[in-house]
Symmetry: C2
């Protein structure tokens, strides 16, 4: 086996349950608060937006949650996903380190997002939902829920940030191919959309506005629910299949990671790979290091506060305790659109606050340099988001070269970049910038956090 570059699990070894980190944490995660009362929210508060099965998963402390057979059946289309030993990258870097990557780009929409889109669509279908609404920025999530929704016979309405709707017609075409309705946001379909358009007729939209539109449409109709592609506990739970598979594949390789790396925007792909390893550290006293790689222009973990904040810019969502730059923080328009979120998943934030993981921030250009180095060696072009994980892995491998250590590094290649070639075109044309965030804006945004005691 030692010369292999690819480790494939047979379908019958695909995990039968997701893993829930909450069960192994030394301290339970902070409560989610109602935006009106400041009191912990209950299932009834969330029922207009989510089916009960997902609400139950949001709050469960069980270590294992069974993956329903109809979900496993769809997963089988691309799962178990391959784990690769990056021998050619190791050679290119001339490092004694061993580098492995779990590749989630083999999914129908080219990223890890369908891992949660499929169960979300399934549970909604099971509880009688007819239609799902969601928002999307760059379109990775929108296309994934479009795919999953049509599979289970749900209508899907995607509110897509208008500037992306105009600039990314290909992601839009993908959503249409899967039968979803894609609406440029702000739209005239909702009160919140019309309100924005009345004041700013030329608004190009924002994720915050798109969330408001999707939530409003879901709250209005009994047959309609809302779906979110990151941040929430149930999303991180569904993504744990990445790490569970990776553990088995590392066993096949006869190896075990010293360092586990993922890029971090909302946190779901990193948590997906890392939480099973964090759980193992906690249960077995292992010392596997976990590294979050985030963009320097949106440095949530490395520069944010651990505080209660809203998930959206319009302050409509419940209050969650998380690392946040403040919901008014506006990151630079980097190409890694999936990492441009002001907050970090509460459960991942909690783990970080407990010292269970590390974080690094990287500038855009150095990530693309890493991405091209990886593509030349391994033949896969990483998504702009995933180049952050590649950069961190290369950094650690080069440290090994200096120290002469042969560490084992495992990172999550969360998606391919074949829908993002404009970013690579801009990189080759010298058009990428490493514009830092505005320190004054960050200070102001952090200063405007809701006034709620930290615990």
């Amino acid at each position: 086996m030692s010369d292999s570059i690819k480790y494939l699990l047979s379908e019958d070894r695909m995990p039968k349950a997701w893993y829930n980190l909450v069960a192994d944490l030394p301290v339970p995660p902070p409560a989610v608060l109602h935006p009106g009362t400041g009191q912990p929210v209950g299932p009834d508060d969330l029922a207009p937006l989510f089916p009960m099965a997902l609400i139950a998963q949001e709050v469960t402390a069980e270590r294992e949650v069974e993956i329903p057979e109809p979900v496993r059946d769809v997963y089988r289309q691309w799962r178990p996903s391959p784990l690769f030993r990056a021998r050619k990258l190791e050679k290119a870097l001339d490092t004694p380190a061993k580098i492995y990557y779990k590749y989630e780009g083999v999914s129908p929409t080219g990223s890890h997002k369908p891992n949660t889109a499929v169960p979300q669509a399934f549970y909604n279908k099971q509880e009688g939902t007819k239609r799902l609404t969601t928002e999307t920025g760059a379109g990775q999530w929108g296309s994934s829920i479009a795919y999953a929704g049509q599979y289970f016979g749900l209508e899907v309405d995607v509110y897509m940030v208008k500037v992306s709707f105009q600039q990314k017609p290909y992601r839009r075409a993908l959503m249409q191919t899967f039968g979803a309705r894609c609406v440029a946001s702000p739209s005239v379909e909702t009160n919140s959309g019309r309100a924005v358009l009345a004041e700013y007729p030329d608004s190009t939209g924002s994720l915050g506005i798109a969330i408001s539109e999707a939530v409003e449409m879901a709250a209005q109709r009994d047959d309609t629910k809302y779906a979110l592609g990151s941040v929430l506990n149930h999303v991180l739970l569904h993504q744990s299949i990445i790490g569970l598979e990776a553990m088995e594949q590392m066993d096949m390789a006869g190896d075990d990671p010293d360092i586990v790396i993922g890029c971090a925007g909302g946190g779901s792909n990193l948590a997906g790979l890392a939480f099973p390893y964090i759980g193992r550290n906690l249960r077995e006293g292992k010392k596997t290091r976990i590294i979050a790689a985030e963009p320097a222009s949106c440095p949530t973990l490395t520069r944010g506060k651990f505080a209660y904040d809203f998930g959206d810019t319009a302050s409509l969502t419940p209050l969650v305790k998380m690392y946040t730059l403040g919901s008014n923080f506006i990151p630079s328009p980097i190409h890694a659109g999936g990492l441009r979120y002001h907050g970090m998943a509460p459960l991942l934030s909690h783990a970080y606050s407990l010292g269970l993981m590390e974080a690094r921030a990287y500038a855009q250009t150095e990530c693309f340099i890493a991405g091209v180095t990886f593509a030349k060696a391994e033949g896969i072009v990483p998504a702009p988001e995933s180049t952050h994980a590649v950069k961190a892995a290369i950094d650690e491998a080069l440290k090994c070269k200096e120290s002469g250590e042969s560490k084992t590094i495992l990172f999550n290649l969360s998606g391919h970049g074949y829908f993002d070639m404009q970013a690579y075109t801009d990189f080759f044309d010298g058009k990428l910038t490493d514009e830092p965030y505005d320190e004054a804006m960050l200070a102001k945004s952090l200063g405007g956090l809701p006034d709620i005691a930290a615990e």
Copy 2:
């Protein structure tokens, strides 16, 4: 096993030799003729353009040609490729037919092209080539040879048809990511390019001109060779790995195809899947039907002549006997750019002339309708070229529905459409046309075939 949807071969079951149909043919293929003398070409005539190992493969009659270990090592990055049972498509069509597809979109460049790009780069490197030149239209082939060339440390110059160079910056960025130099053709780098530009300064180029530029650059320099992505015998040989793997995977499924389908442009992906089955038909007296699906706007097999013709529009290449529309035939600008070739691989043409396979022509719109039907059911968006195979498979499955027969259909999904979403955008926007070819142009083009006795 009967409920599986995905059949994966372990790496150790990847074929160790390619299959050569020539060994099983009842009649040897016609000779290739020198354009000047009209006499059969010898290895020396081809030596300026190709390494001897590929020239030997071009003319061998051996049934099996060993796959070198360094080539197998690169293949392992994505091979063996998966074979799927299209259960969801069967359900959507409500057909008793069983539909399987071999999926070649898992390769680094998203199509079957690396199957031949990798050995071509390997043999060139082995014989001391420093640089490869090639032409590309839509960019599938150019990006594949860029990937393979950089892996073996060869410089790669791709002459890309200027209109594609301008309209398809993403494929170009992919080639750059893999380190190739991409030149808009006609260019000022070659005599043939300069000659065209002198006469037509605004020329947007053609595949014929790009071939001339690539061949000219290769012929001029001892350290430079030329690479072609379809048509030639050695290309079809390399692609046979598709069918060899599929045969093993169909065994895993406990099934055997009654009908084998591929789209046909130059012929390499169809031959790759079908030749091992044709060989089995010839050796064992089986009756597996083979269907070529070609575009109605470039109907080489269904409307062309089986005659000697040039491979390029500038009449520089050797003369080969093939089904051809004449080298001056200009197909409509359909999105399936990979199928817009006036000729068909000589070996595949020979097999067709012997009655070993069938052919169908399909209009553009009906292929996209089939492609969207497939994407909705199976979650993979087919390349525009591959939608022709999908259309043929769906047609056969619907015939089974009428007749009540439960035939087994296997088709080659030669690539994904994630670089071709403009085509799907145009489809959804109602901008696709089914413009037929010009009958008068076809008559004139066929009338202009070189005056060489058919045998």
